[in-house]
Symmetry: C2
Subunit: 333 residues, 2 copies
């Protein structure tokens, strides 16, 4: 059986079966946005790794290396944010073809440094190796979270409401625009930026976790439908998502129409928005959403509710019909 | 200017110039075997990353994936060992072409799990992405070291002796044998194993650091000549290495003869032995070497002495002549 026939998630599951171990110094291991380690200090230490691969995540000639450097750090910071943590230190491994211009690497590092400075992260080490062909960038990021404040994918409770930060479908709309330069769109630059260099919701994640009100959290990399499915899997619950409640900007609505899709389709399946999805008991949801908006400047919206596992996973369409919520989003093979 | 014209170390230096920052929570940043972070606990937290790249570090059809999995973890554990640390947790990022067999990945993970179990390391997360072409494996490793026990490349003092663990040139001899299956060599299997799946000197590194006697340490990845040059650069010292003192096994001596090289050439320039080089004041050197041998079961040998920076870097040949010690070893471009 070949990797390409199996898909990304089964490969990850098989790897986890082989290498996974229960250890007293691991609070959260394989299967969440980041691992949470007990290394003896007051805080738990978070650890995550993510890659940017030429041909899969970016096309060399169509990508500003500076934006790519920002993105490389941002997607990892989003994983730390999803655990309620503060990202602190990164190491980066770059695999580069010999014909690549040094100036390209310098621009990549400039972007990395800009994003690191903005997020308060120190880049403390790295590794350079030659590739035969494409560029592969890996970044491992360390963070900290107070022991009582860790949020995982696994804590959602029946009756909780499902909330998201920001607006959805922006990255997918930006990707479409990057592939269709002929499309006139007033918000083109803003949507492209959301696709190329997403903003990790680091302050928001810490605020949500520190509130003590949320029960589970994940960041949006595969798309809301796929990432909510991860929360359902790990929490042992079902869910109902309301398509009309999904926060979508006018620009995304226009791009969706241009693509022949409904606005909620881009919001639900778009992927790579790097917003946060979190679950909150109903009596605390509005208050927490208001705090996120007031203190971090990012809106937060209720988009659904947590059901018992046996009740299934549903999507309420704008016409009121309920259809099964399929966890399709981006998969990597 | 292209990456391939510049070489690996200038690229790393340029990257470090752009992203490097001084921070109060970073005890050791870019430029050592691992970073050392102050994350509030009793111990410093060590962090390193290293890759195994198809075509650069291994040839797919000639490499057992299980050994490659061991190697991926071992080379990183060696970096933690070189700081005097105990490796604890790893995350792994694999970039895989779609035509790769799932069984290959399973064998890789089996090797990774075996090495992790042997070293007491937990593999706590990972990432899978598709590549257009080759396999790229990145592993980030976390470790711990007591604050007073950290060893860096930067502490060597004039008058210290230079010691190495184990025997040198084994990996280079193994590499040669892997490329020359026709060569009859009694130690073929042992030397191949040293090339394919090196043994990181984790217990030795902790013992050397905990003794409080050593002043600097580095692991041997580029070759003794190149790695000693790193210690000289960071410590601001010179060095004299004695070719006749370099520990070389009879098997390596035979392979060197077959290659038309002197035994000390393989020991000095071979690379990837993943032994430890450390510096110790002369009155403590024999005692520490004896302790490493007795407690960790690995011999340690005096191979040179630390000179003032102005005295230069020298190699004493078997005939007594001194020649400049050139830091050539493996470079990655």
């Amino acid at each position: 059986m070949r990797i390409g026939d199996v898909g990304e998630f089964p490969v990850i599951e098989r790897m986890a079966e082989i290498v996974g171990r229960t250890r007293p110094d691991v609070a959260v291991g394989i299967g969440d946005d980041a691992a949470a380690l007990d290394l003896g200090g007051e805080d738990l230490i978070l650890l995550t790794v993510d890659s940017q691969v030429e041909g899969r995540h970016f096309v060399r000639d169509r990508t500003e290396p500076q934006l790519l450097g920002r993105r490389l750090l941002a997607v990892n910071a989003s994983d730390i944010a999803a655990m309620g943590g503060r990202p602190t230190h990164a190491v980066v491994s770059v695999v580069l073809p010999p014909e690549l211009e040094l100036a390209w690497v310098e621009a990549l590092c400039t972007g990395l440094a800009l994003e690191a400075d903005q997020l308060g992260i120190g880049v403390v080490g790295g590794n350079v190796a030659r590739s035969g062909d494409g560029i592969v960038l890996d970044l491992a990021l360390v963070g900290r979270v107070a022991r009582g404040r860790l949020l995982t994918r696994g804590g959602a409770k029946v009756g909780d409401l499902v909330l998201v930060t920001g607006a959805l479908g922006e990255a997918a709309a930006g990707l479409y625009l990057s592939e269709h330069p002929e499309v006139a769109e007033a918000d083109r630059e803003a949507l492209l930026a959301r696709h190329l260099a997403p903003t990790p919701r680091v302050a928001e994640g810490q605020l949500i976790a520190a509130s003590g009100l949320a029960t589970a959290m994940i960041d949006l990399s595969d798309g809301l439908a796929g990432d909510v499915a991860h929360v359902c899997d790990r929490s042992g619950v079902g869910v109902r998502i309301h398509a009309p409640s999904l926060p979508v900007s006018p620009g995304v609505e226009r791009v969706a129409a241009r693509m022949g899709k409904q606005r909620w389709e881009l919001a639900l399946f778009g992927g790579e928005d790097f917003e946060l999805v979190f679950t909150v008991p109903p009596d605390a949801a509005d208050g927490l959403a208001a705090r996120v908006s007031a203190e971090a400047g990012t809106p937060a919206s209720v988009v659904g509710e947590v059901l018992p596992a046996g009740a299934g996973r549903w999507l309420v369409l704008p016409d009121g019909h309920e259809v099964p919520l399929e966890p399709r989003g981006f998969t990597h093979f």
